[in-house]
Amino acid sequence: MRSALHAEWTKIRTVASPLWLLLGMIAATVALSAGATSVVTCVPAGCGGDMTKLSLIGVTLGQALAAIVAVLVISGEYSSGMIRTTLTAMPHRTTVFAAKAITLTGVVAVAGTTAVLGSLLAGRLILPGHGFTAARGHPALSLTDGPTLRATAGSILYLTLIALLSLGIAAIVRSSATSIGIILGLLYLLPIVSQVIGDPHWQRRLEQIGPMSAGLAIQATTDLHSLPLSPWAGLGVTAGWAAAALVAGGLLLRMRDA
């Protein structure tokens, strides 16, 4: 396992694209968060809203880049035929897959931490200038605040889980374009489609099972009762998706011809 991990780490380290994609993920996340926090203003009449969640909105964009990194880890090998080299060198396929998952978790967690903390810092710096001050009920964002700490740590976990979900789906589908289409469909479509479901019960149910709509409940710090489900339960749903995709992907990798 050590050698498999070492091999996967060398693989991801020695091509330029994962690094650029991860840097892109950090940049995109922070940029969108900063952009979103700089367009809101708190009028004297009062300003509601969950500024922690708004400061972390860049995660909705960053996850797409994390998904590409994950997909390329496996689909890239299939498209170039390198998967055969990999499996010849390391015939124990479950080990290879686990090593890929662990390596991916590591790099996405590191990049995700940078991205999420950067977003939070941007919010902390930008929001007071737009009227969100302690006097109006919006103290500066801080990790010493319990819910904000939970939202921050949860967002990093969320990005990692989305990467793992993507890895699993890529192992199932193998074609990179189709994988990424399915992943982004799962993430982005469910919240949009649930809006037009007339039955409130089904609408809530859809939001509860969507990996993005459920998982991003972890970012909420106010109005927790209006969430489709509680923050940690929501992240649990995303983890469930990731686990299911990884198990299915791992099994298929073992069963199918390379």
Partner: protein
């Protein structure tokens, strides 16, 4: 050296050198990869599937009917009406000396507030049935004197708010179906504001004072309001039956009426020629917010988002597989003019996607409409030509998106990144405008400059300047006209196609 051999001459006579051949070749390429054909068919099916889901999932059977105006549009027709019948021609004059509104702050706590379209004035109405024809002249809180008729027509009169020091005299003359409105600041010098032909009034009409108080816009939402007006100097001329004044809240249980805030209700008091009237509601075309449960074509076509992802994947693969397998060498050896190859690909892909998208939309719209109506859902009405525009526009949106994916694929040459770039560029702005924090100005900006502007082509709702409503893209009101919105996406597609052609020309294949 003298050649001793005869060089070979091709016996395969070819057709004319034409772009059509290139199109034919690319079409053959497209249709012979089963996955691409499947992906395109799936895109069409997703449009239909989500329309069915939308139709099936809503159940509003038994909800009260939506009032429909004389023009067939849904209307809000809820206001406090102090009226008596007028059998023939006649006229009514009144002075409005106060109009004050309250909006709730927190639970049950009403505070004075500003409701610019709060209305107090005179109205001639066919009957008290919500949706019946009318003409009215009124003072408003923020928009001066207005003459309005049949919900959609609005004419401005003298500006300025009313107060005890500066009241407004209003007059309506009825002559058959012609209602003429006058306004005065002193009760003697009258200025004509407008005249309305209101057909179908009948001989006996209900005429009197009214107060309406529409929902106040608070950020991206609305809150109900209540207004009270003071009237004086009421004078009648003509065929009045000299009955009693009757006060009632019209349309109290209409789906377009949000109700009174707090525990208020409509009322009027009369002492001599002075009346104090309290009312809520509005007399206006219904907007999305006053009719939240109603559906639109855009809702029915939500499957467009799902279809988008499928056509973007196919569009990117149409070029990236050529690069990945070096098939591009064969393609370019057969057709060395690279710009033409790319254009042929774009045309074939766009045409195929357009046909699939059109088939999906043409099936989805009537199916979704029928299912929704069967479940009691009221749909904002659209003309046949609007329906056609939405169907064609949806198909064009999908086709343009697929061409954008093709171009980005030719630029990036990596399918996963190309697919993600295009999906994120089109879908993410839409998710952002759905975010409750996003100010309307930013949402409008996003739907003006990003590829998500193209969803404007699916809008069917009309903005009325005389109705205050959160006209946000998320509610179906786009800042750009339908085809202008699509043109934004087309602009992105054309620019990236040009960049792709330039790079293809410059780079080694």
């Amino acid at each position: 050296m003298t050649p001793t051999v005869t060089p070979h001459r091709p016996r395969q006579r070819v057709g004319r050198d034409g772009f059509l051949q290139l199109l034919h070749a690319e079409w053959t390429k497209f249709r012979t990869v089963p996955g691409w054909v499947t992906g395109t068919v799936v895109a069409a099916l997703l449009v239909v599937l989500v329309a069915l889901l939308t139709g099936v999932s809503s159940n509003q059977k038994g909800s009260p009917p939506v009032p429909i105006g004389p023009g067939g549009e849904p209307v809000t027709d809820s206001f406090y009406f102090v009226h008596q019948p007028l059998a023939e021609d006649g006229s009514i004059t009144v002075a409005v000396s106060a109009l004050e509104s309250s909006i709730p702050k927190g639970l049950e706590d009403l505070r004075p507030g500003i409701v610019p379209w709060a209305k107090a004035g005179l109205i001639v109405k066919q009957s008290t049935r919500p949706g019946s024809p009318y003409a009215a002249i009124m003072a408003t809180s923020g928009h001066g004197v207005r003459m309005q008729d049949n919900y959609v027509n609005d004419t401005a009169g003298p500006p300025g708010p009313v107060s005890a020091e500066s009241p407004r005299w209003l007059r309506l003359d009825r002559s058959g179906d012609t209602i003429t409105g006058y306004a005065s600041t002193d009760g003697t010098n009258w200025a004509k504001v407008g005249a309305a032909e209101v057909s179908g009034l009948g001989s006996t009409v209900q005429v009197g004072l009214f107060v309406a108080s529409p929902q106040a816009v608070e950020g991206r939402g609305t809150t109900s309001s209540v207004s009270t007006a003071a009237f004086g100097d009421l004078r009648l001329q003509g065929g009045w039956t000299d009955g009693e004044w009757t006060g009632e809240q019209i349309g109290a249980h209409s789906p377009t009426f949000a109700g009174f805030p707090g525990n208020r209700s409509g009322s009027f008091t009369q002492s001599g020629g002075r009346f104090t009237v309290t009312g809520a509601g509005d007399i206006a075309p219904a907007a999305r917010y006053s009719l939240p449960a109603a559906g639109t074509l855009k809702d029915i076509l939500t499957g467009t988002f799902a279809a988008l992802i499928a056509v973007i994947v196919v569009g990117a693969l149409f070029i990236t597989t050529e690069y990945r397998r070096n098939l591009i060498h064969v393609t370019l050896a057969a057709s060395p003019r690279r710009g033409r190859v790319l254009l042929a690909k774009a045309i074939v892909l766009g045409a195929v996607t357009f046909v699939a998208g059109l088939a999906g939309a043409v099936l989805a719209v009537p199916l979704g409409e029928r299912l929704s109506r069967a479940n009691g859902v009221y749909l904002f009405p659209v003309t046949y030509s609007t329906e056609l525009r939405v169907a064609l526009g949806t198909a064009a949106l999908l086709a343009t998106a697929s061409i954008l994916a093709l171009s980005v694929g030719a630029i990036i040459r990596n399918s996963a990144s190309a697919v993600t770039t295009v999906i994120v560029a089109i879908v993410l702005p839409y998710l952002l405008i759905a975010n409750p924090f996003m100010p309307v100005s930013v949402a409008n900006w996003l739907t003006r400059v990003t590829p998500a502007a193209a969803f404007a082509v699916q809008q069917t709702l009309v903005q009325y300047p005389q109705v205050a409503n959160p006209y946000t893209p998320y509610n179906g009101y786009y800042p750009l006209a339908p085809w202008a919105g699509l043109a934004v996406l087309a602009g992105y597609a054309v620019v990236s196609l040009a960049v792709a052609a330039f790079l293809m020309h410059r780079r080694d294949a």
